[in-house]
């Protein structure tokens, strides 16, 4: 279980989160939506301690992590992995070395064992053939798949996906959607997913949280979103150009 309670965060004069509260139940998939710049990435980074709140409280599996130090967060991050919005593969390492790194550092494997296991992980996302390429030599969508494989190496119980399907072709987007659903259904992984992809959102989410102007505008099931009469939610769901959503 993950609980955010009245989180405030500003960068200088720019208020990004202005009292956000939300709860993610065990084994569930919650999608965070909102327009560009709404603070979705900033919100989810709080969970792994990459951004620290100005005020508010965060609980992770019942433990108050609000005042965790960087050292404390290292333990949490092994249980809660994050896939970043933009490719954050290490550009001086090949794809397979990227995936091997956490295996070597955390699972006590030698470099050779780690590379072997990493190749298996890459095969799971259909990337085995390209495993010796450098990140710069493959496209964005492929990099994202490798980043997902890398995040899954430590078999985390919690996953944060920041726009996992953006930049993927439709077939692979569906694959990633299915992966997220499977992780939850088969192994009880709890996921927080940031997305703009309406098909993923309505296909996969157990619950949807919409951020708007630093606050939670609506927190409900996909059905509740479809039938909402809130003009901002309607505009987001229909993708209308005209509407109350400020640019």
């Amino acid at each position: 279980m993950i609980e955010f309670e009245d989180i405030h965060k500003a960068f200088g004069a720019q208020k990004v989160l202005d009292g956000v509260s939300l709860t993610v139940s065990q084994g569930r998939i919650v999608y965070i939506i909102g327009k560009s710049g709404a603070g979705k990435s900033v919100l989810v980074k709080h969970l792994v301690g990459l951004v620290r709140q100005d005020s508010g409280r965060i609980r992770f599996e019942g433990e108050d992590i609000t005042h965790f130090t960087e050292r404390d967060f290292f333990g949490l991050r092994r249980r809660c992995a994050m896939v970043f919005q933009h490719s954050t593969l290490f550009d001086s390492m090949t794809l397979v070395e990227n995936v091997a790194l956490p295996i070597r550092r955390h699972l006590g494997a030698t470099q050779r064992e780690a590379l072997e296991q990493a190749r298996e992980k890459l095969a799971l996302v259909d990337m085995a053939a390209l495993s010796d390429r450098l990140p710069a030599e493959v496209g964005d969508g492929l990099r994202k798949r490798v980043a997902i494989a890398r995040a899954l190496t430590l078999t985390p119980r919690y996953m944060v996906f920041d726009e996992p399907t953006t930049g993927l072709d439709p077939v692979n987007a569906v694959r990633v959607d299915r992966l997220i659903r499977d992780l939850s259904d088969r192994t009880g992984v709890t996921s927080v997913v940031v997305s703009h992809d309406l098909r993923s959102i309505f296909g996969v989410a157990d619950r949807i949280v919409m951020l708007y102007q630093g606050k939670v505008l609506l927190d409900g099931t996909p059905a509740e979103f479809r039938t909402s009469h809130d003009p901002v939610v309607r505009q987001f769901v229909t993708g209308a150009v005209e509407g109350p959503m400020a640019l």
Partner: protein, 256 residues
Amino acid sequence: MSDAVARLGAGAIALAETVGALAMFTTRVARAALRPRLDRFETWRMLYRVGVESLPIVATTALFAGAIAVVQTGANVVKFRAYEVVGWAFGFSVFREIGPLLVGLMFSGRVGANNTAQLSTMQVTEQVDALRALAIDPIEYLVLPRVLSMVLMMTTLAVIGNAFALVGGIATSWAMLGVDPWVFWNSFAEYVTLTDFANGVIKAAAFGLAISLVSCHFGLAVRGGALGVGRAVNSSVVASAISIFVLDYFITWILK
């Protein structure tokens, strides 16, 4: 007038901030070094990269440093017919002072600048955050191997550089002053002591440590996207050069 004073004051504050941040960074690195979980793979990679990057330029620099030292003293050597001290003068100045200083500055311009560029690029593209998200400490994984490789490589390069400088010195004094290589070598071997040699190597190790800490600090502390990378590299090279001169002053003074 008051504007100039204000700017001077702002400069002093910025300098104090940088020195403070560097001291804090050094403390963090020292603490990580106490319970090292050094990544052997990354360390080998860094040693290799640092070596490959710096060996050619250091060899060239040292060759010319040796030659220049002879050219400088040449006129006096000829005037006083002091051919049998040219090896000593060369060894004393190059091994103790000019060699490590030039090698350090070249090393900083090449390896240090590259290092800052690489780390700051990793920082602005969130690769450093990705490491943290994988529960890998950037100080332990990125900084320690770099510090270790740069100190080791600077020490090694100082020794190799001395050999190249010697070649440059002997060749120049032979070609320019007509000093027989054996005469040069004898005066060198007789007067230049192990202390002179050790002195230079200690300096080189200290410079390596300073360059590694400064270049890692400026790399990880980068602010402001791709533009910030350029600024970080620039600050890193300037700060490395300053710390080389300051260290040189104190070490020369302590070991005199």
